[in-house]
């Protein structure tokens, strides 16, 4: 009996090890895994075809967007050396009353990552009846040293659960700030990475990242009236990103209360994000 059980264990463990090995031999990474193509068009003057890939349609919040460039003269060839600039633009109202603004962006690096250009745009509001978004992609094709722009009319959805909030900092800061939650994108019971971005509205057309704030989090399960232990407050990792750890003890609806501070002073009020596991 013992021997049989031991044998079974050894067998099981070896099967596990073997299967682990296989997983470790993961082949080439598909940079577009999990992404779908949202838009495609030509950047006139840059000899480039532009494709925009996202995890889902554009939404109010921090959108991870991947730009894929093809040589418009030879559509089978990807352009891997280019300078890409996101130019989102919201137009509100009509005619003379129209008002325009952009939103926080993270332009891709000049060098490609696995042949594509990942970046991000944090749309600060959804498309509405009197507000429309356009997304411009400026491309500097280093291959031919040509510049051009592709423009897309896009619809920005309003997600069921808010992942971005625009708020005005309390005095003395008084800045208008954009706080987005990036992670956990796939929340699970146990320890999770939590990541925020914080951008400041310098002007209608300039929303730079800001690393000068501090963020504190308190997860809470409102229906149970409890939180979770051993959370790690996010700290700035540069470029407006703040990374920490959040713990969920069970599935269900969690609320992550967020405090934003500047020089030790609390400048936010009633900020939170809901996460359902």
């Amino acid at each position: 009996m013992k021997h049989i059980l031991k044998f079974i264990y050894i067998l099981l463990i070896s099967v596990l090890l073997i299967s682990c090995d296989k997983n470790n031999e993961a082949p080439t990474i598909d940079p577009l895994d999990g992404y779908t193509k949202l838009k495609e068009g030509y950047a006139l003057g840059a000899s480039a075809k532009v494709e925009i890939w996202g995890k889902k349609n554009f939404f109010m919040g921090y959108n991870n967007l991947v730009v894929v460039l093809y040589d418009s003269l030879n559509l089978k060839e990807k352009i891997t050396d280019a300078h890409i600039h996101f130019m989102p633009l919201m137009t509100m109202g009509m005619g003379a009353m129209a008002m325009q603004h952009t939103c926080p962006i993270e332009n891709p690096d000049e060098t490609d990552t696995n042949d594509v250009f990942p970046g991000a745009v944090a749309f600060v509001m959804p498309t509405t009846a009197d507000g429309t978004w356009k997304l411009g992609i400026a491309v500097h094709n280093h291959k031919y040293d040509k510049e051009g722009e592709a423009n897309f009319d896009i619809t920005v959805d309003n997600p069921e659960t808010s992942v971005l909030t625009v708020f005005t900092a309390l005095a003395p800061d008084n800045n208008k700030l954009v706080l987005s939650i990036l992670e956990p994108s796939k929340p699970k019971v146990g320890i999770n990475d939590i990541e925020f971005t914080l951008h400041r509205k310098a002007s209608m057309m300039d929303w730079p990242a800001d690393d000068s704030y501090t963020i504190e989090i308190t997860p809470e399960m409102p229906s149970m009236g409890h939180g979770s232990p051993n959370n790690v407050n996010p700290v700035s990792s540069g470029n407006g990103h703040y990374k920490g750890k959040v713990n969920f003890t069970m599935t269900g609806e969690w609320k992550i209360n967020v405090l934003v501070k500047k020089d030790g002073n609390l400048i936010s009020k009633d900020l939170y994000f809901n996460i359902t596991l």
Binding site: Y9, I191, N247, F248, M250, T251, G252
Partner: protein, 687 residues
């Protein structure tokens, strides 16, 4: 609280004599002197009077019998499924087995000790070993309780015996039906017994109906035995127990269904080696149910401070199964020495889950909340036990035993691993540990009728799954949620016992003292860093090793037969426990004494019993204990055996708690009054 005196003899006496040595009847003279009692505990038997009484007592639940045993107390959460406690030890500190088979309850809240899946009608006897000495079936520190399943007796004169019985108790409108049948033919013997019980909410001594004290259950047991020749036999046992709608007034939940099944196959070779081999499998499915409870809670909202009411339901199913085998044999390696060897292995698989569904009035159900209160785990234990008995002289016998258990815990649930990352644990999938036990026991005859038994021992025990990986297990006693400690160390005990046994034809006495010095005592310690999970929980307690704790117990039993038809029995037990900090250990019963007198002449029996418990003032406030007042209750029982168509009809009439006293014992959770005065009627027809 029904009791009968004879059952106490039947069960206690063999244990008295066998308390130290379970299997050495040839060597220990006390066993020989009491042999007739031990034999008469075998059923069905030659002595019909004893059979009748024993069976009458099958109306009692196993809990009622346990309450009368040496050193045993019961932790009570409801009218059913009381948890045995032996000299202050309970749960994972004790080793409760069925014919040496391991079986584990599937409830994270200890609502189903395995004694709840066994009925007295399933049993032949109960063997108790005190302290570290009870390690034959597994390392433990508190002792062992082995429940021996009933089997048809080939030596019986009556080849065919069956009975049908009905019982009624007024206090809970309890209806009981018992049936048993056994047949022996040539080399084959088989037996079958069935019990059905249905109790409604009982009435306490202050004439209140105690809600959620109902239960109903059915139990079936079948056994087939094949004896090809004089020295060999094969036995197959099948047991099925199904309890439904079991109320637990002291807990926030009841049990919808608790179902156990057990299969065992045994081979015995009764030559000088007394070989016994067994393979078994058992499984338990346990589902808690709060659908009949008022589940409206008032919640203070964190954000706006306003009170809000919510409705909550919890699904809490638990599963537990055990597959195991053992082989044991005796090596009489010389005239004075006998070595018992036992090797065993079992694999226990358990999983308990909790899903909470919550609704605020007027709004939709919030997303359900799920957790694994016992993440799926497989525990495999391989053990070897050796016991050598040396017969030095007529006056002196020495027994030594030791056990090694290799314990392997394999966490099978990724979810469980992730759950525990919340507490900054990175759990390894596998954890193994070696636990051991070593004991020395000496019996010395000071006089022909007076012997002294001294036992010294050391033992360790593995933490239970709940103590290692329990995840927010609510304890209704202290109101805290308990969290396991994956790297908790085994509990250790140094044990010393001194017992005097005095045996004369008319009087038999056992007086014992035992002392345990515990290290790495496992106990929940409040952790203020972890927020409480629930709005009704007081906070979080994490299982920790307390450096030291002490337990002291003393027991006295006297059986006195001044004349043949009259007998008196006294059983007095006292336990004291103290944590290293000097605080009293929680859940320790005060001095409890049962005194019974029985008159039996021919077919007529009369019995009076008095149970007294002193107040418990040594309490652990930190655990939420409060003082418990003393109580004394009186019970009365009578019986008469009629002849009906040449078969026996037993009629029994009794009153328990004659004075209708409103009382509870210290180990009763929730300080809920026990049943008040109750009239009991039993009828059993044997044919």
């Amino acid at each position: 609280m029904r009791k009968n005196f004879v059952i106490v003899w039947l069960v206690v006496l063999p244990i008295l004599s066998m308390a130290q040595i379970a299997d050495s009847s040839k060597i220990w003279p006390t066993v020989i002197t009491l042999q007739e009692v031990k034999v008469s505990a075998d059923l069905p038997l030659n002595n019909s009077d004893v059979v009748d009484f024993y069976r009458t007592n099958h109306f009692a639940t196993l809990d009622n019998i346990n309450a009368r045993l040496d050193g045993m107390a019961l932790i009570k959460r409801g009218a059913y499924a009381l948890e045995p406690q032996l000299n202050g030890f309970s749960g994972g500190q004790l080793n409760v087995t069925i014919d040496g088979m391991r079986m584990f309850g599937a409830c994270t809240d200890k609502m189903d000790p395995i004694t709840s899946y066994i009925e007295p009608s399933n049993l032949k006897s109960i063997a108790i070993n005190q302290g570290t000495n009870g390690s034959i079936n597994g390392c433990n520190i508190g002792g062992s309780v082995d429940l021996c399943l009933m089997e048809p007796n080939q030596k019986s004169l009556n080849p065919y015996a069956s009975s049908l019985g009905f019982g009624y108790e007024s206090v809970s409108k309890s209806k009981n039906v018992l049936f048993s049948i056994a047949s022996i033919k040539n080399k084959w013997a088989w037996g079958f017994d069935a019990v059905y019980r249905k109790n409604e909410n009982y009435r306490s001594g202050d004439d209140q109906i105690i809600p959620f004290s109902q239960f109903q259950k059915a139990n079936l047991h079948a056994v087939v035995k094949y004896t090809p020749d004089d020295i060999q036999n094969y036995k197959l046992d099948l047991l099925y127990d199904d309890a439904r709608n079991v109320g637990y007034p002291a807990l926030p939940m009841d049990v919808g269904i608790a179902r156990a099944s057990l299969m065992a196959f045994e081979y015995q070779l009764n030559n000088k080696n007394q070989l016994k081999a067994k393979i078994y499998y058992n499984t338990i499915h346990h589902v808690m149910d709060d659908s009949k409870r008022d589940s409206l809670y008032i919640l203070d909202s964190n954000t706006d401070g306003k009170s809000d009411s919510v409705y909550m339901r919890m699904d809490m199913p638990g599963k537990s199964s055990t597959l195991g085998a053992y082989v044991q044999f005796v090596l009489p390696w010389n005239e004075r020495n006998r070595l018992l060897v036992k090797a065993d292995n079992y694999t226990h698989n358990s999983l308990a889950e909790m899903t909470m569904h919550m609704r605020y009035p007027g709004s939709a159900l919030v997303p359900s909340m799920y957790m694994q209160t016992w993440p799926q785990m497989l525990r495999n234990v391989s053990g070897i036990f050796l016991q050598n008995t040396t017969f030095v002289s007529q006056k002196l016998q020495i027994m030594m035993n030791g056990r090694l258990d290799y314990n392997m815990d394999i966490l099978q649930s990724q979810y469980g691993q992730e759950q525990f990352s919340v507490f900054n644990y990175s759990l390894s999938k596998k954890q193994s540990k070696l636990v051991k036990s070593l004991n020395l026991s000496v019996q010395y005859y000071l006089l022909k009728s007076l012997s002294m038994v001294t036992t010294m021992g050391y033992s360790e025990r593995m933490p239970t799954i709940g103590e290692r990986l329990g995840f927010y297990l609510y304890n209704a006693y202290d109101g805290y949620d308990y969290i396991g400690n994956p790297y908790i160390k085994p509990e250790k005990s140094n044990y010393f016992r001194l017992a005097f046994q005095f045996s004369r034809p008319k009087i038999k006495t056992n007086f014992s003292q035992s002392f345990s010095y515990l290290r790495n005592y496992i106990m929940g310690v409040t952790d203020t860093q972890i927020p409480a999970m629930n709005f009704y929980a007081n906070g979080i307690r994490v299982y920790q090793n307390i450096p030291s704790a002490k337990l002291y117990s003393t027991d006295l039993q006297v059986l006195f037969n001044p004349i043949n038809s009259l007998s008196f029995y006294l059983n007095s037990k006292f336990t004291m426990g103290e944590l290293g900090s000097g605080e009293p250990m929680p859940l320790i019963p005060p001095l409890n004494t049962v005194f019974a007198a029985q008159y039996q002449k021919g077919k007529f029996m009369l019995q009076a019993e008095c149970e007294n418990s002193l107040a418990q003032n040594r309490i652990n406030l930190n655990y939420g204990e409060r003082q418990t007042p003393s109580y004394t209750i009186f019970n009365f029982k009578s019986g008469y055996t009629f002849k009906l168509f040449k078969y026996a009809l037993d009629a029994s009439l009794g009153v328990t708690n004659i004075l209708n006293k409103a009382y509870y014992a210290h180990l009763d959770w929730g300080r809920i009054y026990r049943p008040g005065r109750s009239l009991e009627m039993f009828l059993k027809y044997s044919f």
